[in-house]
Amino acid sequence: MDYLIAKIKRMSNPAHYKVLSGHTTFQFEVDDYSLVEYSPDHNLDEDGLFKISDFTEKGYCLDFLKQDLVSTSFNEIPADKYKKVSYLCAIQESAICFQKVTPSTYLNRSLLKFGENVTIENSDNKILINPFPDAVFIPSQNILVFRNLGTISSIFKGVDALYKEATHEEVNSFLNEPFIALSDGYDASRVSKPNRKRVALAIESFAGLEGEEKTQIMDYIHEYCENISYDEGEKKFSISNDEELKFLLYGIEQRFYTTILGDEKRLANSVQTLG
């Protein structure tokens, strides 16, 4: 039997309460989606969802997902706690669906109800259920699937560690790498948020390169990014704005390619490892 539980804010032991049972809250089939292992710089396709594999082994996995769930173990939610729900969790046949509850999820408006007589209904004590859950745990595959990491980070505390953004110091030390020359007063404080994310990834990728490979990468970037001025003697790229930095970072991630037919130079703004 499917049932729905709610996590109550600022309450522990127990923090989860049973809301209702015998009703399927979310219609969700994981097979309808193509799953991509989470990576902060991946742009999801329309039918795509991120997944986190081996989820129960992760530190941010909720304790109650690690054991067999028994609905009788959850107390019934006291009516006065409805305003303090932080998320809903629907335990269903093959999936455990989560929906974050924010103040905007509560309906606080008057509703016009048509029928024999038209009446105004006050919508107190109502929580809006989204057509699509924010996160879904599939026990049979031990994966968590979701669309937006930011939304679920309040449900799974610590999961936002996956969303790396370089700190000011890291950006600073990256921009001081010998192959970068800053110009036009561009510095670490002017690096945009998306670029900080890319810097965090690029630091890792760059650290994994040997000396010869680094030179190859420099030549590769120079070949594709004619808009970034490159000093071949000193092997330095001159970076004067966010856009140039973005292309340099894409280059380090080897996002440029040439089509087989037509020799068109292209940039892949989202990548996925095959095989």
């Binding site: 039997m1 049932y3 049973k18 209702l20 049972s21 015998g22 054991q67 067999d68 028994v70 609905s71 009788t72 173990s73 107390n75 019934e76």
Partner: protein
Amino acid sequence: MNLIFRLLLTFNATSLLVIIFLVQKGYALGHFFPILCPYLVDVSNYTSYFVYLLVPVLMTWLSIVMCPKLGKDEFKSGAVVSIEHANNSFLPSYLGYFFVALSIGSPEALFFVYGILFVFTFLSQALYFNPLFLVFRFEFYNIVTSDGASIFLISRNKYKLPKDVVIQTAYRINNYTFIEKV
């Protein structure tokens, strides 16, 4: 809904106190409304006692009928790890009711004692042991679920082993008491 149901169960569980008091004092039906319903005066004591007993029996039946209005839960196979038959555990508390009822002297005392008992039974919520469920062929069980929680189960099935307890729909009377209505 739950509140009404719990009040009903509390009444069923404690009503025996009033009946024993009435029987002990020899109050027949005619004693209550001699002017309004004079024909009741002729009703024999035995018939009166039987009528008294009928009230909680009907109320218990009503509470069983009302069960499906409660929250539902499921016991999957493997959800229960230990089971203990608990039909007899209500006896000490019921003997308590008997002695209290027998020693009450006046209707005022009954009113007061019953009031206190009702409130405590209602609030404790654990003591819904109602021997009248036995009349309706229900059995009482203490079960422990796979995650260690202890639950009181009322069911018509004669469970013997934990693995026998597989229930599609059990109704939740409160967080520690469930009833299976077959």
